[in-house]
Protein backbone atom coordinates (compact mmCIF):
# COMPACT_ATOMS: atom_id res chain seq x y z
CA UNK A 1 0.00 0.00 0.00
CA UNK A 2 1.20 3.46 -0.90
CA UNK A 3 0.88 6.30 1.62
CA UNK A 4 0.57 9.98 0.86
CA UNK A 5 1.49 12.53 3.53
CA UNK A 6 0.80 16.23 3.25
CA UNK A 7 3.24 18.70 4.80
CA UNK A 8 3.17 22.48 5.15
CA UNK A 9 5.99 24.92 5.76
CA UNK A 10 4.95 27.25 8.56
CA UNK A 11 6.44 29.63 11.11
CA UNK A 12 8.50 27.62 13.61
CA UNK A 13 6.40 26.80 16.66
CA UNK A 14 8.96 28.42 18.99
CA UNK A 15 8.74 31.81 17.28
CA UNK A 16 6.31 34.39 18.57
CA UNK A 17 4.43 35.75 15.57
CA UNK A 18 4.45 39.53 15.08
CA UNK A 19 1.55 41.34 13.47
CA UNK A 20 2.62 43.82 10.75
CA UNK A 21 2.08 47.47 11.64
CA UNK A 22 -0.10 48.03 8.56
CA UNK A 23 -2.51 45.29 9.63
CA UNK A 24 -1.98 43.28 6.45
CA UNK A 25 -0.87 40.08 8.15
CA UNK A 26 1.86 38.46 10.21
CA UNK A 27 5.47 39.37 9.48
CA UNK A 28 7.26 36.31 8.10
CA UNK A 29 10.38 38.07 6.76
CA UNK A 30 13.55 36.65 8.33
CA UNK A 31 11.52 34.39 10.60
CA UNK A 32 12.53 30.77 11.20
CA UNK A 33 10.24 28.42 9.29
CA UNK A 34 9.78 24.68 9.85
CA UNK A 35 7.51 21.80 9.00
CA UNK A 36 4.12 22.13 10.72
CA UNK A 37 4.44 20.02 13.94
CA UNK A 38 1.26 18.03 13.24
CA UNK A 39 2.64 17.18 9.78
CA UNK A 40 5.84 15.82 11.35
CA UNK A 41 3.61 13.46 13.30
CA UNK A 42 1.92 12.49 10.01
CA UNK A 43 5.27 11.73 8.36
CA UNK A 44 6.38 9.73 11.41
CA UNK A 45 3.16 7.66 11.38
CA UNK A 46 3.63 6.87 7.70
CA UNK A 47 7.21 5.75 8.32
CA UNK A 48 6.12 3.53 11.22
CA UNK A 49 3.46 1.90 9.03
CA UNK A 50 6.13 1.24 6.41
CA UNK A 51 8.54 -0.15 9.02
CA UNK A 52 5.80 -2.53 10.20
CA UNK A 53 5.42 -3.74 6.62
CA UNK A 54 1.93 -2.28 6.25
CA UNK A 55 3.04 0.23 3.61
CA UNK A 56 5.43 0.01 0.69
CA UNK A 57 6.04 3.59 -0.37
CA UNK A 58 5.64 7.06 1.16
CA UNK A 59 5.06 10.12 -1.02
CA UNK A 60 5.28 13.51 0.72
CA UNK A 61 3.34 16.37 -0.87
CA UNK A 62 3.39 20.09 -0.18
CA UNK A 63 1.63 23.09 -1.69
CA UNK A 64 3.48 26.37 -1.34
CA UNK A 65 6.44 28.50 -2.42
CA UNK A 66 9.78 27.14 -3.70
CA UNK A 67 11.09 27.16 -0.13
CA UNK A 68 8.49 24.56 0.85
CA UNK A 69 11.06 22.16 -0.67
CA UNK A 70 12.83 22.43 2.70
CA UNK A 71 9.85 20.87 4.48
CA UNK A 72 9.73 18.14 1.85
CA UNK A 73 13.48 17.46 2.24
CA UNK A 74 12.89 17.10 5.97
CA UNK A 75 10.16 14.55 5.26
CA UNK A 76 12.54 12.71 2.89
CA UNK A 77 15.29 12.78 5.52
CA UNK A 78 12.89 11.31 8.08
CA UNK A 79 12.11 8.43 5.69
CA UNK A 80 9.67 9.38 2.94
CA UNK A 81 10.63 7.93 -0.45
CA UNK A 82 9.84 10.76 -2.82
CA UNK A 83 8.17 14.15 -2.83
CA UNK A 84 5.91 16.39 -4.90
CA UNK A 85 5.80 20.16 -4.53
CA UNK A 86 2.88 22.01 -6.06
CA UNK A 87 4.68 25.33 -6.32
CA UNK A 88 2.87 28.63 -6.05
CA UNK A 89 3.62 31.97 -4.46
CA UNK A 90 -0.07 32.68 -4.00
CA UNK A 91 -1.80 31.86 -0.74
CA UNK A 92 -3.73 28.59 -1.09
CA UNK A 93 -6.58 27.96 1.35
CA UNK A 94 -7.51 24.53 2.73
CA UNK A 95 -10.18 24.07 0.03
CA UNK A 96 -7.61 24.73 -2.72
CA UNK A 97 -5.05 22.45 -1.09
CA UNK A 98 -7.67 19.70 -0.74
CA UNK A 99 -8.53 20.01 -4.45
CA UNK A 100 -4.86 19.72 -5.43
CA UNK A 101 -4.31 16.76 -3.09
CA UNK A 102 -7.42 15.06 -4.54
CA UNK A 103 -5.90 15.29 -8.03
CA UNK A 104 -2.59 13.90 -6.80
CA UNK A 105 -4.44 11.10 -4.99
CA UNK A 106 -6.19 10.21 -8.24
CA UNK A 107 -2.79 9.87 -9.94
CA UNK A 108 -0.97 8.12 -7.11
CA UNK A 109 -3.77 5.85 -5.86
CA UNK A 110 -2.66 5.66 -2.20
CA UNK A 111 -4.35 3.42 0.39
CA UNK A 112 -4.21 6.15 2.99
CA UNK A 113 -3.46 9.87 3.15
CA UNK A 114 -2.15 11.20 6.46
CA UNK A 115 -2.25 14.91 7.27
CA UNK A 116 -1.74 17.07 10.34
CA UNK A 117 -5.04 18.01 11.96
CA UNK A 118 -4.27 21.70 11.59
CA UNK A 119 -1.49 24.04 10.54
CA UNK A 120 -0.22 26.29 13.31
CA UNK A 121 -0.37 29.40 11.11
CA UNK A 122 -4.00 29.68 9.96
CA UNK A 123 -5.33 27.13 12.53
CA UNK A 124 -8.10 26.15 10.10
CA UNK A 125 -8.35 22.40 10.81
CA UNK A 126 -10.09 21.68 7.50
CA UNK A 127 -7.84 20.20 4.79
CA UNK A 128 -8.10 16.51 5.73
CA UNK A 129 -11.87 16.55 6.13
CA UNK A 130 -12.27 18.47 2.85
CA UNK A 131 -10.01 16.01 1.04
CA UNK A 132 -12.05 13.09 2.38
CA UNK A 133 -15.22 14.77 1.09
CA UNK A 134 -13.79 15.44 -2.37
CA UNK A 135 -12.54 11.85 -2.72
CA UNK A 136 -15.63 10.30 -1.11
CA UNK A 137 -13.36 8.53 1.41
CA UNK A 138 -13.71 7.81 5.11
CA UNK A 139 -12.04 10.13 7.62
CA UNK A 140 -10.35 9.52 10.95
CA UNK A 141 -9.61 12.96 12.37
CA UNK A 142 -7.56 13.89 15.48
CA UNK A 143 -6.04 10.40 15.60
CA UNK A 144 -4.08 9.20 18.62
CA UNK A 145 -3.76 5.59 17.37
CA UNK A 146 -3.92 3.98 13.93
CA UNK A 147 -4.05 0.21 13.34
CA UNK A 148 -4.40 -1.46 9.97
CA UNK A 149 -6.52 -4.56 9.75
CA UNK A 150 -7.08 -5.95 6.26
CA UNK A 151 -9.18 -3.54 4.25
CA UNK A 152 -9.91 -1.38 7.28
CA UNK A 153 -8.13 1.05 9.55
CA UNK A 154 -9.00 1.24 13.22
CA UNK A 155 -8.50 4.82 14.36
CA UNK A 156 -8.70 6.10 17.94
CA UNK A 157 -9.68 9.76 17.99
CA UNK A 158 -9.15 12.42 20.64
CA UNK A 159 -12.62 13.87 21.16
CA UNK A 160 -13.91 16.45 23.67
CA UNK A 161 -15.16 13.86 26.14
CA UNK A 162 -12.22 11.46 25.89
CA UNK A 163 -11.39 8.89 23.20
CA UNK A 164 -13.47 7.39 20.41
CA UNK A 165 -12.55 4.46 18.20
CA UNK A 166 -13.91 4.08 14.69
CA UNK A 167 -13.27 1.62 11.89
CA UNK A 168 -12.62 3.11 8.46
CA UNK A 169 -12.93 1.45 5.09
CA UNK A 170 -9.74 1.93 3.07
CA UNK A 171 -8.73 4.09 1.30
CA UNK A 172 -9.01 6.55 4.17
CA UNK A 173 -7.93 9.98 5.36
CA UNK A 174 -6.25 10.23 8.76
CA UNK A 175 -5.45 13.52 10.50
CA UNK A 176 -2.99 13.46 13.38
CA UNK A 177 -3.30 14.69 16.93
CA UNK A 178 -0.38 15.35 19.25
CA UNK A 179 -0.23 12.03 21.02
CA UNK A 180 -0.19 9.76 17.96
CA UNK A 181 3.59 9.44 18.11
CA UNK A 182 6.81 11.29 18.79
CA UNK A 183 8.47 12.21 15.49
CA UNK A 184 12.08 11.15 15.00
CA UNK A 185 14.94 13.49 14.20
CA UNK A 186 16.55 12.92 10.84
CA UNK A 187 20.14 11.66 11.18
CA UNK A 188 22.92 13.41 9.31
CA UNK A 189 23.47 10.50 6.87
CA UNK A 190 19.73 10.48 6.16
CA UNK A 191 19.72 14.25 5.58
CA UNK A 192 22.52 13.74 3.04
CA UNK A 193 20.68 10.84 1.43
CA UNK A 194 17.47 12.87 1.22
CA UNK A 195 19.18 15.33 -1.11
CA UNK A 196 19.25 12.73 -3.86
CA UNK A 197 15.70 11.46 -3.39
CA UNK A 198 13.30 12.49 -6.17
CA UNK A 199 11.37 15.74 -5.70
CA UNK A 200 8.98 16.65 -8.47
CA UNK A 201 7.91 20.29 -8.88
CA UNK A 202 4.50 20.98 -10.39
CA UNK A 203 2.09 23.93 -10.55
CA UNK A 204 -1.63 24.21 -9.68
CA UNK A 205 -2.28 24.68 -13.43
CA UNK A 206 -0.71 21.27 -14.14
CA UNK A 207 -3.61 19.78 -12.19
CA UNK A 208 -6.24 22.09 -13.69
CA UNK A 209 -7.20 23.34 -10.24
CA UNK A 210 -8.44 26.86 -9.60
CA UNK A 211 -6.98 27.54 -6.17
CA UNK A 212 -7.91 31.21 -5.91
CA UNK A 213 -8.77 32.22 -2.34
CA UNK A 214 -12.43 32.48 -1.38
CA UNK A 215 -11.76 34.45 1.79
CA UNK A 216 -10.47 38.00 1.72
CA UNK A 217 -8.38 38.99 4.71
CA UNK A 218 -9.47 42.55 5.44
CA UNK A 219 -7.11 43.12 8.36
CA UNK A 220 -4.99 41.38 10.96
CA UNK A 221 -4.57 42.87 14.41
CA UNK A 222 -2.98 41.90 17.69
CA UNK A 223 -5.36 40.56 20.29
CA UNK A 224 -6.12 42.83 23.23
CA UNK A 225 -3.35 42.54 25.76
CA UNK A 226 -3.77 41.39 29.30
CA UNK A 227 -1.91 43.26 31.97
CA UNK A 228 -0.12 41.46 34.76
CA UNK A 229 -1.94 41.84 38.07
CA UNK A 230 -0.56 41.65 41.56
CA UNK A 231 1.57 39.11 43.36
CA UNK A 232 0.50 38.02 46.80
CA UNK A 233 2.78 36.63 49.49
CA UNK A 234 0.61 34.05 51.21
CA UNK A 235 -2.39 31.78 50.87
CA UNK A 236 -4.35 34.01 53.26
CA UNK A 237 -3.68 37.04 51.10
CA UNK A 238 -4.70 35.04 48.02
CA UNK A 239 -8.00 34.06 49.64
CA UNK A 240 -8.52 37.71 50.64
CA UNK A 241 -8.10 38.81 47.02
CA UNK A 242 -10.44 36.11 45.77
CA UNK A 243 -13.04 37.30 48.29
CA UNK A 244 -12.65 40.94 47.17
CA UNK A 245 -13.28 39.81 43.62
CA UNK A 246 -16.33 37.91 44.79
CA UNK A 247 -14.90 34.65 43.52
CA UNK A 248 -15.20 32.83 46.84
CA UNK A 249 -17.37 33.53 49.83
Amino acid sequence: MKLLVAVKRVIDFNVKPRVKADGSGVDLANVKMSMNPFDEIAVEEAIRLKEKGAATEIVAVSVGPAKAQEALRTALAMGADRAILVQTDEEVEPLGVAKLLAKIAAEEDPGMIILGKQAIDDDSNQTGQMLAALLGWSQGTFASKVELDGGNAKVTREVDGGLETISLKLPAIVTTDLRLNEPRYASLPNIMKAKSKPLLVKSPEDYGVDAKPRLKTLKVVEPSKREAGVKVASVDELIGKLKTLGVVQ
Partner: protein, 309 residues
Protein backbone atom coordinates in the same frame (compact mmCIF):
# COMPACT_ATOMS: atom_id res chain seq x y z
CA UNK B 1 -30.51 34.65 5.69
CA UNK B 2 -31.54 31.17 6.84
CA UNK B 3 -29.01 29.44 9.03
CA UNK B 4 -28.77 25.77 9.98
CA UNK B 5 -27.12 25.09 13.34
CA UNK B 6 -25.79 21.67 14.30
CA UNK B 7 -27.15 20.63 17.71
CA UNK B 8 -24.69 18.75 19.90
CA UNK B 9 -26.30 16.32 22.25
CA UNK B 10 -25.40 13.41 24.45
CA UNK B 11 -27.54 11.02 26.44
CA UNK B 12 -30.77 12.71 25.32
CA UNK B 13 -29.62 16.17 26.43
CA UNK B 14 -28.48 19.19 24.45
CA UNK B 15 -24.90 20.12 25.19
CA UNK B 16 -24.15 23.68 26.28
CA UNK B 17 -21.73 24.11 23.38
CA UNK B 18 -24.76 24.43 21.06
CA UNK B 19 -26.00 27.63 22.70
CA UNK B 20 -23.25 30.11 21.70
CA UNK B 21 -23.53 28.80 18.13
CA UNK B 22 -27.24 29.68 18.20
CA UNK B 23 -26.34 33.22 19.31
CA UNK B 24 -23.86 33.56 16.43
CA UNK B 25 -26.47 32.25 13.97
CA UNK B 26 -29.08 34.72 15.23
CA UNK B 27 -26.74 37.57 14.23
CA UNK B 28 -26.95 36.31 10.64
CA UNK B 29 -30.68 35.73 10.38
CA UNK B 30 -33.32 33.06 10.90
CA UNK B 31 -32.13 30.19 13.12
CA UNK B 32 -32.97 26.63 12.12
CA UNK B 33 -31.51 23.69 13.98
CA UNK B 34 -30.52 20.20 12.93
CA UNK B 35 -30.92 17.43 15.47
CA UNK B 36 -29.42 14.23 14.09
CA UNK B 37 -29.13 10.94 15.91
CA UNK B 38 -30.99 7.86 17.03
CA UNK B 39 -34.15 8.24 19.16
CA UNK B 40 -33.72 11.98 19.41
CA UNK B 41 -37.36 13.01 19.84
CA UNK B 42 -36.69 14.42 23.33
CA UNK B 43 -33.64 16.31 22.12
CA UNK B 44 -35.71 17.87 19.33
CA UNK B 45 -38.36 18.98 21.81
CA UNK B 46 -35.72 20.60 24.00
CA UNK B 47 -34.11 22.20 20.93
CA UNK B 48 -37.41 23.80 19.94
CA UNK B 49 -37.42 25.58 23.31
CA UNK B 50 -34.10 27.37 22.74
CA UNK B 51 -34.83 31.09 22.51
CA UNK B 52 -35.06 32.45 18.98
CA UNK B 53 -35.29 29.14 17.16
CA UNK B 54 -37.55 28.88 14.11
CA UNK B 55 -37.54 25.38 12.73
CA UNK B 56 -35.95 22.23 14.16
CA UNK B 57 -35.08 19.63 11.54
CA UNK B 58 -34.95 16.17 13.05
CA UNK B 59 -33.19 13.27 11.37
CA UNK B 60 -33.72 10.09 13.36
CA UNK B 61 -31.73 7.15 12.08
CA UNK B 62 -29.37 4.56 13.58
CA UNK B 63 -26.76 5.61 11.00
CA UNK B 64 -26.59 9.04 12.65
CA UNK B 65 -26.18 7.79 16.22
CA UNK B 66 -22.46 8.54 16.55
CA UNK B 67 -22.38 11.61 14.29
CA UNK B 68 -20.00 9.95 11.83
CA UNK B 69 -19.07 12.72 9.36
CA UNK B 70 -19.43 10.39 6.37
CA UNK B 71 -23.12 9.78 7.16
CA UNK B 72 -23.99 13.25 8.47
CA UNK B 73 -22.47 15.35 5.66
CA UNK B 74 -24.80 14.25 2.81
CA UNK B 75 -27.81 14.98 5.05
CA UNK B 76 -26.54 18.49 5.80
CA UNK B 77 -25.74 19.10 2.13
CA UNK B 78 -29.32 18.25 1.23
CA UNK B 79 -30.70 20.63 3.87
CA UNK B 80 -28.32 23.34 2.66
CA UNK B 81 -30.37 23.39 -0.55
CA UNK B 82 -32.68 25.76 1.32
CA UNK B 83 -30.36 27.29 3.93
CA UNK B 84 -27.63 29.90 3.49
CA UNK B 85 -25.25 29.10 6.32
CA UNK B 86 -24.24 25.93 8.15
CA UNK B 87 -22.97 26.60 11.65
CA UNK B 88 -21.44 24.24 14.19
CA UNK B 89 -19.80 24.79 17.57
CA UNK B 90 -15.99 24.52 17.25
CA UNK B 91 -15.97 21.24 19.17
CA UNK B 92 -14.31 18.04 17.97
CA UNK B 93 -17.67 16.96 16.48
CA UNK B 94 -18.21 20.29 14.73
CA UNK B 95 -14.63 20.43 13.46
CA UNK B 96 -14.99 16.90 12.10
CA UNK B 97 -18.24 17.50 10.20
CA UNK B 98 -18.21 21.14 9.01
CA UNK B 99 -15.23 20.98 6.59
CA UNK B 100 -16.64 17.83 5.00
CA UNK B 101 -19.89 19.71 4.36
CA UNK B 102 -18.01 22.81 3.15
CA UNK B 103 -16.01 20.87 0.55
CA UNK B 104 -19.15 19.14 -0.76
CA UNK B 105 -20.75 22.60 -1.14
CA UNK B 106 -17.51 23.99 -2.68
CA UNK B 107 -17.34 26.56 0.11
CA UNK B 108 -14.28 27.73 2.04
CA UNK B 109 -15.13 27.37 5.72
CA UNK B 110 -14.43 30.11 8.24
CA UNK B 111 -13.14 28.32 11.35
CA UNK B 112 -13.53 29.29 14.97
CA UNK B 113 -15.24 32.66 14.52
CA UNK B 114 -15.00 35.17 17.38
CA UNK B 115 -17.52 37.68 16.04
CA UNK B 116 -19.99 38.31 13.26
CA UNK B 117 -19.14 41.69 11.68
CA UNK B 118 -21.69 41.46 8.87
CA UNK B 119 -23.45 38.79 6.80
CA UNK B 120 -20.16 37.81 5.14
CA UNK B 121 -17.46 39.13 7.46
CA UNK B 122 -16.12 37.50 10.59
CA UNK B 123 -13.16 37.70 12.94
CA UNK B 124 -11.14 34.61 13.81
CA UNK B 125 -7.93 33.82 15.69
CA UNK B 126 -4.82 32.76 13.77
CA UNK B 127 -1.31 31.83 14.93
CA UNK B 128 -2.60 30.35 18.19
CA UNK B 129 -4.52 33.50 18.99
CA UNK B 130 -1.45 35.72 18.58
CA UNK B 131 -3.31 37.55 15.82
CA UNK B 132 -6.95 38.18 15.02
CA UNK B 133 -7.93 38.23 11.35
CA UNK B 134 -11.01 39.87 9.90
CA UNK B 135 -12.06 37.79 6.89
CA UNK B 136 -14.76 38.24 4.28
CA UNK B 137 -16.25 35.19 2.62
CA UNK B 138 -16.96 35.50 -1.11
CA UNK B 139 -18.86 32.18 -1.26
CA UNK B 140 -22.63 32.32 -1.76
CA UNK B 141 -23.22 29.96 1.17
CA UNK B 142 -21.31 30.10 4.44
CA UNK B 143 -19.91 27.32 6.58
CA UNK B 144 -18.78 28.48 10.01
CA UNK B 145 -17.54 26.97 13.24
CA UNK B 146 -18.09 29.06 16.34
CA UNK B 147 -15.75 29.54 19.29
CA UNK B 148 -18.02 28.96 22.26
CA UNK B 149 -16.29 31.37 24.63
CA UNK B 150 -16.70 34.32 22.22
CA UNK B 151 -20.52 34.38 22.20
CA UNK B 152 -23.10 34.51 24.96
CA UNK B 153 -25.14 31.36 25.39
CA UNK B 154 -28.64 31.55 23.92
CA UNK B 155 -31.33 30.94 26.55
CA UNK B 156 -32.22 27.25 26.69
CA UNK B 157 -35.87 28.11 27.40
CA UNK B 158 -38.38 30.52 25.96
CA UNK B 159 -38.42 29.55 22.29
CA UNK B 160 -41.25 27.92 20.39
CA UNK B 161 -39.72 26.38 17.30
CA UNK B 162 -41.58 23.96 15.06
CA UNK B 163 -40.31 20.41 14.68
CA UNK B 164 -40.01 18.96 11.22
CA UNK B 165 -38.91 15.42 10.45
CA UNK B 166 -36.42 15.01 7.63
CA UNK B 167 -35.43 11.83 5.88
CA UNK B 168 -31.89 11.04 4.82
CA UNK B 169 -28.90 10.15 6.89
CA UNK B 170 -28.26 6.72 5.47
CA UNK B 171 -25.25 4.62 6.33
CA UNK B 172 -22.93 5.28 3.40
CA UNK B 173 -20.80 2.31 4.48
CA UNK B 174 -17.46 4.10 4.85
CA UNK B 175 -17.02 4.09 8.61
CA UNK B 176 -18.24 2.32 11.72
CA UNK B 177 -18.32 3.31 15.36
CA UNK B 178 -16.33 0.81 17.43
CA UNK B 179 -16.34 2.23 20.95
CA UNK B 180 -15.62 5.17 23.18
CA UNK B 181 -13.86 5.83 26.45
CA UNK B 182 -15.68 8.86 27.70
CA UNK B 183 -14.65 9.86 31.18
CA UNK B 184 -17.62 9.94 33.51
CA UNK B 185 -17.22 12.79 35.95
CA UNK B 186 -19.32 14.54 38.55
CA UNK B 187 -17.42 17.72 37.80
CA UNK B 188 -18.67 20.39 35.40
CA UNK B 189 -17.56 20.28 31.78
CA UNK B 190 -14.35 22.19 31.06
CA UNK B 191 -15.77 24.39 28.32
CA UNK B 192 -18.77 25.54 30.35
CA UNK B 193 -17.37 25.53 33.91
CA UNK B 194 -17.40 28.75 35.96
CA UNK B 195 -14.16 27.82 37.72
CA UNK B 196 -11.29 25.73 36.36
CA UNK B 197 -8.37 24.37 38.34
CA UNK B 198 -5.60 23.43 35.95
CA UNK B 199 -2.36 21.57 36.58
CA UNK B 200 0.96 21.52 34.75
CA UNK B 201 4.11 19.48 34.51
CA UNK B 202 5.30 20.63 37.92
CA UNK B 203 2.77 18.21 39.45
CA UNK B 204 5.34 15.51 38.69
CA UNK B 205 3.14 12.42 38.38
CA UNK B 206 -0.40 11.31 37.73
CA UNK B 207 -0.84 10.43 41.43
CA UNK B 208 0.37 13.82 42.62
CA UNK B 209 -1.69 15.58 39.96
CA UNK B 210 -4.92 14.05 41.20
CA UNK B 211 -3.99 14.19 44.89
CA UNK B 212 -3.22 17.90 44.63
CA UNK B 213 -5.60 19.28 42.03
CA UNK B 214 -8.76 17.22 42.55
CA UNK B 215 -9.49 18.19 46.20
CA UNK B 216 -9.21 21.92 45.38
CA UNK B 217 -11.44 21.50 42.33
CA UNK B 218 -14.02 19.59 44.37
CA UNK B 219 -13.98 22.24 47.09
CA UNK B 220 -14.65 24.96 44.49
CA UNK B 221 -17.07 22.92 42.38
CA UNK B 222 -14.59 23.45 39.56
CA UNK B 223 -13.65 21.57 36.41
CA UNK B 224 -10.12 20.18 36.12
CA UNK B 225 -7.84 21.13 33.27
CA UNK B 226 -4.21 20.49 32.38
CA UNK B 227 -1.42 21.91 30.25
CA UNK B 228 -0.21 20.05 27.20
CA UNK B 229 3.03 19.22 29.03
CA UNK B 230 1.06 17.49 31.81
CA UNK B 231 -1.06 15.56 29.30
CA UNK B 232 1.95 14.54 27.20
CA UNK B 233 3.68 13.31 30.37
CA UNK B 234 0.63 11.17 31.15
CA UNK B 235 -0.34 13.00 34.36
CA UNK B 236 -3.81 13.84 33.03
CA UNK B 237 -6.00 12.44 30.23
CA UNK B 238 -6.17 14.16 26.83
CA UNK B 239 -9.66 15.57 27.34
CA UNK B 240 -8.25 17.76 30.16
CA UNK B 241 -5.97 19.67 27.81
CA UNK B 242 -6.46 23.42 27.67
CA UNK B 243 -4.67 25.26 24.88
CA UNK B 244 -4.43 26.05 21.20
CA UNK B 245 -4.78 22.42 20.22
CA UNK B 246 -6.88 21.36 23.17
CA UNK B 247 -9.92 23.10 24.61
CA UNK B 248 -10.47 26.84 24.54
CA UNK B 249 -11.91 28.01 27.85
CA UNK B 250 -12.96 31.33 29.38
CA UNK B 251 -14.30 30.69 32.88
CA UNK B 252 -14.90 33.28 35.60
CA UNK B 253 -11.80 32.01 37.39
CA UNK B 254 -8.88 30.02 36.01
CA UNK B 255 -6.41 28.73 38.58
CA UNK B 256 -3.14 27.67 36.91
CA UNK B 257 -1.05 25.47 39.18
CA UNK B 258 2.50 24.58 38.21
CA UNK B 259 1.89 25.82 34.69
CA UNK B 260 4.70 27.93 33.23
CA UNK B 261 2.50 29.50 30.57
CA UNK B 262 3.65 28.36 27.12
CA UNK B 263 2.13 30.39 24.24
CA UNK B 264 0.00 27.49 23.17
CA UNK B 265 -1.48 27.11 26.68
CA UNK B 266 -2.18 30.84 27.04
CA UNK B 267 -4.01 30.72 23.70
CA UNK B 268 -6.56 28.43 25.33
CA UNK B 269 -7.29 30.34 28.54
CA UNK B 270 -6.26 33.99 28.31
CA UNK B 271 -9.86 35.16 27.93
CA UNK B 272 -10.73 33.91 31.43
CA UNK B 273 -12.12 36.70 33.63
CA UNK B 274 -9.75 36.18 36.57
CA UNK B 275 -6.50 34.24 36.25
CA UNK B 276 -4.74 32.97 39.35
CA UNK B 277 -1.24 31.51 39.00
CA UNK B 278 0.66 29.44 41.52
CA UNK B 279 4.22 28.63 40.47
CA UNK B 280 7.61 28.30 42.11
CA UNK B 281 9.36 30.16 39.27
CA UNK B 282 8.69 33.87 39.72
CA UNK B 283 9.76 34.54 36.13
CA UNK B 284 7.24 32.09 34.64
CA UNK B 285 5.38 33.73 31.72
CA UNK B 286 2.05 32.82 33.33
CA UNK B 287 2.61 35.67 35.83
CA UNK B 288 2.60 38.19 32.98
CA UNK B 289 -1.09 37.59 32.37
CA UNK B 290 -2.23 36.48 35.84
CA UNK B 291 -4.42 38.82 37.89
CA UNK B 292 -3.23 37.23 41.11
CA UNK B 293 0.10 35.44 41.39
CA UNK B 294 1.56 33.45 44.24
CA UNK B 295 5.19 32.31 44.03
CA UNK B 296 6.00 29.20 46.01
CA UNK B 297 5.88 25.44 46.38
CA UNK B 298 2.55 24.25 45.00
CA UNK B 299 2.69 21.09 47.13
CA UNK B 300 2.48 23.31 50.23
CA UNK B 301 0.29 26.10 48.85
CA UNK B 302 -2.46 24.07 47.22
CA UNK B 303 -3.32 21.84 50.21
CA UNK B 304 -3.30 24.92 52.46
CA UNK B 305 -5.59 26.76 50.06
CA UNK B 306 -7.92 23.76 49.83
CA UNK B 307 -8.10 23.49 53.58
CA UNK B 308 -8.66 27.20 54.24
CA UNK B 309 -11.35 27.79 51.61
Amino acid sequence: MKTLVWVEHEGGKIKDSTLPAVTAAAKLGEVHLLVAGKDVGKVAEAAAKIAGVGKVHVADDAALEHALAENVAPLVVELMGHHDAFITPATTTGKNIAPRVAALLDVMQVSDILSVESADTFTRPIYAGNAIATVQSTDAKKVLTVRGTAFEKAAAEGGSGTIEKVSGGKDVGLSKFVGAEIAASERPELTSAKIIVSGGRALGSSEQFHATIDPLADKLGAAVGASRAAVDAGYAPNDYQVGQTGKIVAPEVYIAIGISGAIQHLAGMKDSKVIVAINKDEDAPIFQIADIGLVGDLFKIVPELTQKL
